[in-house]
């Protein structure tokens, strides 16, 4: 039995927000809460390590790799724009560029960690700085990795010519995640390389 | 009459809290009476009657005045309760120790209490002695609270509210008892298997009694010629790794100081009375009284246990 059978004439069309966008905002909110806790722990423990390497002695500001990551936000934004305009080849190129920039950033993190572990003797168990640093930067790197896997999957689909203009909305949602990852890096970068040193 | 009732305070912080509690109870009690009466009245007066079948009551969607009223009044009540609490928080937490205050450092262990009187050079365990405080010349006891392992909490309800002992986070509390007597409590923060038997005993004594107790506690262990065998067992088994007996080679810090063991009414942090039989049973196998506690059974034979107990009994 249907209770409401006759639709009333409507002054305005009934349009609600897109559920993909809302869902992604919610995910971003949850992830932000997780990162906030790690950032708070990092800030609280600044200067409290009893022994071991200290941030000001061993950390070098990763300017180049930060530029890579932040530029990838621009390239992904442009990529989605191109797809919305139907320019699938430009989209594919820009998407690939995003992937490369993200991978470069991860490579930079790996390089930095290699230096810290082997040259400076700083591991996650060395002292409070080691624990909080590797946890916070590692959590972020984990989110970058997840993002890269998603981006790579889209790149594969794109290589087979399966990504079309009608998919632009979904890729817009994925790019929101990528922008979030970049925004988190801005915070982490500030906390670790400026406030903490 | 419960010896641990929060409504029978004998010490300044507990009394101050009691005053606030009564005020809060009166206010919340009044709120309860009013709202409950309204609920009971509504439930009875507005019951559907048989003749009401199929007839809906007047649909009232709200009332701004009523909403305002029952927002403003609670806000006022909340402000009053907040101010009352803030005053008591300040008076207890920000209290300054007067010059004659006794200073005690309390260190929580799994599952016993260590008491150190740094100015009086006394170290003891499980039974805290403090002097009664004369309001004219106050001698409260200020306690610094530390922990050697996990979180604990010091709660003797008739003397003060509880304060936690947290490793790497020194805390402070104080008591100012007006009556002499024995006051009971126990650890109030789950600290492991034997949390339930980490009992507190606070002996509030007259100044004279307290000074005498301090004098006695500050002495090294009594000479023990007659119990040479027991002392030998103690010093050759692992006992000395955990326990201190002042004036001997035993200087372990993991377990309670035993120098004046027999001056205590109980053993195992208040779990059992300090009798010869209990002491022997405890040494034979601590898990008889406190399964899971950290003192191991040393696997001693009967003869060793007897001589060891004889030795313990000389530690007055």
């Amino acid at each position: 039995m249907s209770a409401m059978s006759v639709p009333l004439p409507r002054a305005r069309p009934w349009i609600l927000p897109d559920r993909g966008v809302v869902g992604m905002y919610c995910l971003i909110a949850a992830e932000s809460a997780i990162f906030t806790i790690f950032v708070i722990a990092y800030l609280f423990y600044i200067g409290k390590s009893l022994t071991g390497p200290q941030p000001q002695n061993v950390l070098h500001v990763p300017i180049f790799f930060t530029v890579c990551l932040l530029s990838s936000s621009l390239t992904i934004h442009l990529a989605v724009r191109q797809l919305q305009a139907g320019k699938e080849r430009m989209f594919a190129l820009l998407w690939l560029l995003t992937l490369i920039l993200g991978a470069l950033f991860l490579g930079g993190t790996a390089q930095e960690w290699r230096h810290l572990i082997y040259d400076e003797g700083l591991t996650i168990s060395t002292n409070l700085f080691g624990t909080t640093y590797y946890s916070l930067v590692g959590l972020h790197a984990f989110h970058v990795t997840v993002g890269l896997i998603a981006l790579a999957s889209v790149a594969v689909f794109s290589a087979f010519g399966l990504v079309k203009r009608e998919h632009a909305a979904r890729l817009e949602v994925l790019s929101m995640y990528w922008h979030f990852v970049d925004a988190v890096w801005v915070v982490v970068f500030t906390v670790v390389y400026f406030i903490g040193r | 009459m419960s010896p641990t009732s929060i409504f029978a305070p004998v010490s300044t912080p507990a009394s101050t809290i009691f005053g606030l509690s009564m005020f809060v109870l009166v206010v919340t009690g009044a709120i309860f009476v009013v709202v409950f009466s309204l609920l009971a009245y509504a439930s009875i007066k507005f019951r559907r009657k048989p003749e009401d079948h199929d007839c809906e009551p007047a649909q009232v969607y709200g009332s701004t005045q009523v909403e305002l009223a029952w927002t403003v009044i609670p806000v006022l009540i909340v402000v009053v309760l907040f101010l009352a609490s803030a005053r008591v928080i300040a008076s207890i937490q920000n209290a300054v120790a007067p010059p004659k205050a006794i200073a005690v450092t309390v260190i929580g262990h799994q599952y016993w209490w260590e008491y150190r009187y740094p100015d009086l050079k006394v170290v003891t365990a499980n039974e805290l002695h403090v002097p009664v405080s004369d309001p004219a010349h106050p001698t409260p006891t200020f306690l610094t609270l530390l922990s050697a392992d996990t979180d604990h909490s010091f709660w003797v309800p008739r003397l003060a509210g509880k304060t936690d002992l947290i490793p790497n986070h020194p805390n402070r509390t104080w008591i100012e008892p007006r009556e002499t007597g024995l006051f009971l409590g126990q650890c109030s923060q789950y600290c492991g298997v034997q949390h339930a038997k980490m009992l507190l005993r606070v002996y509030v004594q007259t100044r004279a009694e307290f000074d005498q107790w301090i004098q006695q506690q500050a002495k090294p262990a009594a000479e023990t010629g007659a119990v040479f065998e027991g002392r030998r067992v103690f010093e050759s088994t692992a006992c000395i790794n955990c326990h201190t007996i002042a004036g001997t080679v035993a200087n372990g810090r993991f377990g309670p100081d035993l120098t004046h063991l027999m001056s205590r009414d109980t053993i195992a942090s208040g779990a059992v009375a300090n009798t010869r039989e209990n002491l022997r049973r405890w040494i034979r196998d601590p898990s008889d009284f406190k399964p899971g506690c950290l003192m191991p059974a040393m696997g001693l034979g009967d003869a060793q246990l007897d001589s060891l107990t004889d030795y313990m009994e000389t530690l007055r």
Binding site: R19, G23, C26, A30 | R47, D149, T150, G161
Partner: protein, 557 residues
């Protein structure tokens, strides 16, 4: 085309094989089926949590009892708390939300049906994993390796030093897994309510149950995440040699407490808001009046959501924060009492002037009002920090929170069961047996939890496996245990009623209660697609408008 005839026996429809039925349930993405599975799962775990409670109460029936060892007792209180909060009340409420929200907002399903199924199975697996801890270690009789660190798992008790072995890991990992499920469900509920309401159901026209679940979902998103973060930190400490809570290395045990309670306090509002939702739907229908002050109820709910994120350290009044910090948390805690009280008054205002029918759902709701009032007042008592310095970590606070969770939340859950049972099953429950359940349970509840305030006042701390005689606690503990047995009987009657009525209850029809929200406009049980035609609404009570065309709500709203 073949002209041969085909034998067709129309009189004997094929019975679906059991394997197919089970497969349908296991692979379903239908919000109604997932809702039922959540609720069924929660009822199962309610039994487990209840047994854990009974074991504790038998051990505490008299001083120095030897019913179970301290090791087993400590596992019991840890598992009881963890089970009831994460694997009974949360799944129960998620189940009701899953079932009811799409129906109430005129949608065909949740926003993300596959995420819905994934979240359910994550939660279910988390609970299974937690309970697998009973096997192993010392085996079932020694309660295996089940967590024994308390449901809030304070550091440094959870470090490798003080908890070698895996009991802490079972706690951490099972909650990490089910936490993912909870966040998934919350995202789903949030997106469903924002994006899938039927025309023209603006947020101001949606049922209060939907509002409560919306704010609840927001709180889950913001509050479970800190717990996840803290648990990851704990695993880093335990397995990677980290020092987040390692006090020997300069780490802070208090930081764990902050992180845990930043989760822990909003969590209790996650539990209570949907309960408020049930009350807000049921009380109006059985008072035969619209809810009093709908806009104020919404505002109060949102206010509670926000303020609840700022009160957490009232669980930490005794840890040695500064007097300024303690004072701040007194203020925020007292503040949250205002919107909460407003809601109680609005429910009262709904009953006022009504024509109240005391069916079983309404009985439970009225008891909820009484008990939640008391629980709120004991909460205010503890909000006064110095009073809390005596009351916290004692049986008084246990009495308080059971008053909220059992006396408040469980009572409204019972009400919700009885109220929506006809919709979900198409049959009426037995009203007399329902009332029997109510009276037996309410008596048992008060014998246990009203009396329980007294040992707290007399100095009995929590989490103790036994206690000394001569403290004045003995008789009270005996009465408390007796009440627990009575409640158990009540629950068995409840389950029996549900089971019997499912098979033998009278047919209910679409709308047995003469109610006003959209779920009552469709069949009982609803078809898989919920509504043949997506409804259009003009007010908060679309069915009232249909039944009273001369006096519709939209003229007054």
């Amino acid at each position: 085309m073949s002209t041969g005839s085909i034998a067709w026996d129309a009189a004997a429809p094929e019975r679906t094989p059991l394997v197919e039925i089970l497969h349908g349930w296991v692979t379903t993405v239908d919000h109604k089926r997932l809702g039922i599975m959540y609720v069924g799962y929660a009822l199962l775990l309610l039994m487990a949590g209840g047994v854990e409670a009974m074991i504790m109460r038998i051990q505490l029936i008299r001083p120095l009892n030897h019913f179970v060892s301290p090791e087993v007792f400590n596992r019991m209180f840890t598992m009881h708390g963890t089970t009831m909060i994460f694997f009974v009340v949360m799944p129960m409420l998620f189940g009701f939300a899953n079932y009811l929200v799409p129906l109430m907002i005129g949608a065909r399903d949740m926003a993300f049906p596959r995420l819905n199924a994934f979240s359910f199975w994550m939660t279910a697996f988390g609970g299974l994993f937690l309970y697998s801890s009973f096997i192993g270690g010392d085996g079932l009789y020694g309660a295996g390796n089940a967590p024994d660190v308390g449901w809030f798992a304070y550091a440094p008790l959870t470090s490798q030093t003080f908890s070698p072995g895996h009991s802490t890991d079972f706690w951490t990992l099972s909650l990490l897994v089910s936490g993912v499920g909870s966040i998934g469900t919350a995202i789903n509920i949030f997106a469903t309510i924002i994006c899938m309401r039927c025309p023209v159901m603006t947020l101001g026209k949606m049922p209060l149950l939907a509002w409560m679940n919306l704010v609840m979902a927001g709180l889950v998103i913001l509050a479970i995440s800190p717990l996840t973060a803290a648990q990851v930190m704990l695993m880093v400490d335990r397995y990677l040699g980290g020092h987040f809570f390692d006090t020997q290395a300069g780490g802070s045990a208090v930081m764990w407490m902050h992180f845990f309670w930043v989760f822990g306090h909003p969590e209790v509002y996650v539990l209570v808001l949907p309960a408020f939702g049930f009350a807000s739907e049921i009380i109006p229908v059985f008072s035969r009046k619209a809810i009093f002050g709908y806009p104020v109820m919404v505002a109060a709910t949102v206010a509670i959501g926000f303020i609840s994120m700022s009160v957490w350290a009232h669980h930490m009044f005794t840890v040695g924060m500064t007097s300024n910090a303690n004072t701040f948390f007194v203020l925020s805690t007292m503040a949250i009492a205002v919107p909460t009280g407003i809601k109680i008054f609005n429910w009262l205002g709904t009953m006022w002037g009504g024509k109240i029918q005391f069916n079983t759902p309404m009985l439970f709701c009225v008891a909820f009002l009484f008990q939640f009032l008391m629980a709120g007042l004991t909460g205010i008592m503890q909000g006064a920090a110095p009073f809390d310095w005596q009351l916290t970590a004692s049986y008084f606070v246990i009495a308080h929170f059971h008053y909220v969770i059992v006396g408040g939340i469980l009572f409204t859950i019972f009400a919700a069961f009885y109220y929506w049972f006809p919709k979900v099953t198409g049959r009426m429950y037995n009203e007399r047996v329902g009332k029997l359940h109510f009276w037996i349970f309410v008596i048992g509840f008060h014998l246990t939890f009203t009396v329980m305030h007294i040992p707290g006042i007399l100095g009995m701390p929590r989490r103790i496996y036994t206690y000394e005689p001569g403290r004045g606690w003995d008789t009270w503990n005996l009465i408390i245990t007796a009440g627990a047995f009575i409640q158990a009987v009540g629950i068995l009657i409840f389950l029996g009623n549900l089971a019997w009525s499912y098979f033998r209850g009278a047919l209910a029809g679409n709308d047995p209660w003469d109610a006003w929200t959209l779920e009552w406009s469709t069949a009982s049980p609803p078809p898989a697609y919920n509504f043949a035609v997506i409804p259009e609404v003009r007010s908060r009570r679309p069915l009232w408008d249909l039944k009273h065309p001369e006096d519709p709500d939209w003229k007054y709203e």
